[in-house]
Subunit: 354 residues, 2 copies
DNA sequence: GCATTTTTGAGGAACGTACCTCAAAATGCG
DNA sequence: CGCATTTTGAGGTACGTTCCTCAAAAATGC
C-alpha cells in the first residue's frame, strides 16, 4: 500500500493537521517540525495522490484557446485538434473553450483577452501576430495571474509563460538540407511565404538560408515571394517566375496554400517535376505527397500540440514544473513513405468530414 | 458547475443507486429505466469525473515492463525512459516495475511471465523474441485477464492486446527513400542487420527493398550482413566488403552497433564519405550525426513510447477505448539540422549521467 | 389475486486529500 | 515566573464517485 498523509503523521510523530500545513506550505509551523515531516515523507517515499488532491480542492481548469478566424485548412485543423483534446480532457476536470478573433484587428483581440479573466479562466492559449496592443493585453492577463501560452508562432516579447510549437528556424534548416540533398547541390529554388511580417515565416527563411549558404553552395535560393494568403497572387507569381527562370528546380513553400501551388504547377505542366517542400500536413498536402506532387512536408503533430497546450496550462495554473521532454514539439519530416495512416497530427478531423 | 451523479438522479427521476447501476453496467435495471438515465445523462452533458471514480475504486495500476538483459545502448535507454515515465505516473496511482530476462533463454522468460499474475500486476509490457514458448506464456497471461502489450518489436501471433512501436516496414521504406534520393539513384548499398530472426529487422529490410525496386532502379541494395550484436564481426565484415566492392556509396544499418560501424569507417578512411543511415537516436548516433559521420537516423521517441505503454495498459486494464491518434508512435527522421536539443526521445538519461 | 421474482430506493461507508475551527500545548520574552 | 504569542492537535466536513446492505415497491407468472 502506498503511504498516505496519515502514515506521514504517524511516522513523524505529529498530527495530520501539521502534515497538511507542511504539504501545502501553510504558515505557522516551526522549521524543526517542517524538517521532521519532510524526513518522514522521504523515509516513506510518499507521493501525493493528485487525483484525490484535485478532488478535494474541487479544482477545475477552464481554458481558453484564442485563434484568428482565418479559413485556412491549418487553422481549422488546429481548432479541431484543440476541441478533440478538450473533449478527452473533460474527464479530468478540464474544459476548453475556443474563441476566434478577426485576423486583421488587434484591438478586437485585445478586448477579447481583457474579457477573459472575469469569466474564471485558468489559462489562455493564443495564436496571434505580435503587435504592441497584444503585448499589453498579454501582460495584463499575466498580471492577473492567468498563465498564457503562445501557440504555433512564438510571442517572446509578451513574456508568455511558454511556447507550444516547433523551432521554426530549425524547421527551415531541415527544409534546407532536404532541398539541398534532393537537388544534389545544384539549381535554383523558389521560396514562397505568406507574409514576411509573421515571425514563423522569417525564422524559417533564416534557417533555410543558413543551411544553403553553409552546405549547398551550388543551390541558389531566390528571394521570398509573398503571397499574403491570396491564391490568385500565388498562382500568378509562381507561373511567371517559373516561366522566366528556367533554372528553378525546387520550391520551398514556407506558408500555406498548397492547393493553389499544386494546381498552378499542374496547369503549366510542371507537376511532379520539381522538388517541392512544404509545411503542415493537411488533407490536401497528404494527397499531394501520395501522388508525388509534393516531395516532402515538414510538419508538427497537431494532436500533440493540443494536448501539450492543455498540460502546460494546467501545470502553469498550479505553478507545477513541466516535463520538458514531453512538451517539446518535434519537427516531423513526412515523405510518401512514412505518411501516417490517419488521424491525430493532422487535418482530417471533424471539420473535414462535415 | 458540472453535473454530478446526483443531478442525473434528479433529472431522471430515479435514485442515486439506480444511476450508479446504469453507469457501472451492474445488472438488475429495466431497459426502460436504463434509457431514462441515459437520456438524462445526454441532456445534462454529464461526463464522469475519472479522478473521483479512481479514488473511490482505490484503483491502482501495477505494471511490469519486461526487457532482455542486453547491454545495448538502446535497451538501456528504453529502460530509462520507462523508469522515468513510471516516476511521472506515480502521482496517478500507477507503479511500474522493470524486469529483465536472459536474452537467450525463452524458458526463463516464460517462467518470469508465469510468476507475474500472482503479484497483482494490472498489465505487462514486453519486448522479446517471438518464440513458441513465449506465445504460450503470453496467452496464459491474457487468459488470466492481464493485458499484454508488445514493445518495439511486435508479437502478432501471441494475440497481444496492442503493439507499442513504429511500423518497421514503413521505417525501412523511409530509409529507402532517403538513401535513394541522397545517392541520386546510383550506386551500391551495404545493408547491415543484427539478426534476420528478429521480426523488426526483417520488416525493415522488406520496406527498404520495396522502395528501392520501385523508385530507385539505379541503386543496388546488397544482401543483408548479419552481425549478431558482435562488434568484431561487424568491423571485419564491413571492412572486407568495402574493400571488395568499390561501388558501395551508402550503408543502411538496420540494427544497433553504430559505434563499431563509425569506428571501422574511420579506420579505413571512409568516415563521412558514404551516405550512412541508421536506426535509433542514441548518445553516440547523435554525436555521429553532428559530426557528419551519419547522414540520417530513423528513430522513435522513447519518451512517447514509454508514456504510451502506460496509457495503453491502463486503458486495457479498465477495458476502456484508446485514443488511437495519441498512441501512434511516429517514425522520426533526424538529420543534423533537426536534432532535438536534448532529452526525452533519447538515450541521454539518468543511466548515462551516472 | 396471490406468491414470487425483479427492480428500485434510501442510506451509509470508503477512497486520499484539502481546508476549516477551536482548544490545548509549547515556546519566547521581560 | 507569568504573560502573550506561536505552534500543534483533534476533529470535522467536503469533493464525486463506488459499492454495499436492506427494505420497499413494482412487475411477473400462474
Amino acid at each position: 500500500m502506498r503511504p498516505t498523509v496519515n502514515d506521514i503523521a504517524r511516522e513523524a510523530g505529529v498530527s495530520l493537521a501539521t502534515v497538511d500545513r507542511v504539504l501545502n506550505a501553510r504558515p505557522g509551523v516551526r522549521e524543526k517540525t517542517v524538517q521532521a515531516v519532510n524526513d518522514a515523507i522521504a523515509r516513506l517515499g510518499y507521493v501525493r495522490d493528485l487525483t484525490a488532491a484535485n478532488l478535494a480542492r474541487s479544482r477545475t481548469y477552464r481554458i481558453a484557446a484564442v485563434l484568428p478566424d482565418t479559413e485556412s485548412q491549418f487553422i481549422q485543423s488546429l481548432a479541431a485538434a484543440l476541441q478533440e483534446a478538450g473533449q478527452a480532457a473533460a474527464t479530468s476536470r478540464t474544459e476548453l473553450r475556443l474563441h476566434r478573433f478577426p485576423a486583421e484587428d488587434p484591438h478586437a483581440l485585445a478586448a477579447l483577452l481583457a474579457d477573459l479573466p472575469g469569466k474564471g479562466y485558468a489559462g489562455v492559449a493564443l495564436m496571434a501576430p505580435e503587435t504592441p496592443v497584444l503585448r499589453d493585453a498579454v501582460r495584463s492577463l499575466r498580471a492577473k495571474g492567468v498563465p498564457v501560452v503562445a501557440l504555433v508562432s512564438d510571442l517572446p516579447t509578451t513574456g508568455r509563460d511558454h511556447f507550444v510549437g516547433i523551432d521554426n528556424r530549425a524547421a527551415g534548416r531541415t527544409a534546407g538540407v532536404l532541398m539541398g540533398r534532393f537537388l544534389g547541390n545544384a539549381g535554383q529554388v523558389l521560396v514562397l511565404g505568406s507574409s514576411l511580417l509573421a515571425r514563423d515565416m522569417v525564422e524559417r527563411r533564416r534557417g533555410f538560408d543558413e543551411v544553403m549558404l553553409r552546405d549547398f553552395p551550388g543551390v541558389e535560393a531566390l528571394p521570398s515571394l509573398e503571397t499574403h494568403g491570396s491564391s490568385r497572387l500565388l498562382r500568378q507569381a509562381v507561373a511567371e517566375r517559373l516561366a522566366n527562370t528556367p533554372g528553378i528546380r525546387g520550391i520551398y513553400a514556407m506558408g500555406d496554400g498548397h492547393r493553389a501551388l499544386t494546381q498552378v504547377l499542374d496547369e503549366i505542366g510542371q507537376s511532379g517535376k520539381l522538388i517541392l517542400i512544404c509545411h503542415e500536413l493537411t488533407l490536401h498536402s497528404r494527397q499531394a505527397l501520395q501522388s508525388g506532387e509534393i516531395t516532402a512536408v515538414i510538419t508538427q503533430n497537431l494532436g500533440h500540440l493540443a494536448r501539450s497546450t492543455l498540460r502546460v496550462l494546467r501545470a502553469k495554473a498550479d505553478s507545477q514544473p513541466l516535463d520538458e521532454g514531453q512538451e517539446q514539439i518535434r519537427i516531423e519530416i513526412v515523405l510518401r513513405e512514412n505518411l501516417p495512416l490517419t488521424a491525430d497530427s493532422e487535418t482530417t478531423t471533424a471539420s473535414d468530414a462535415a
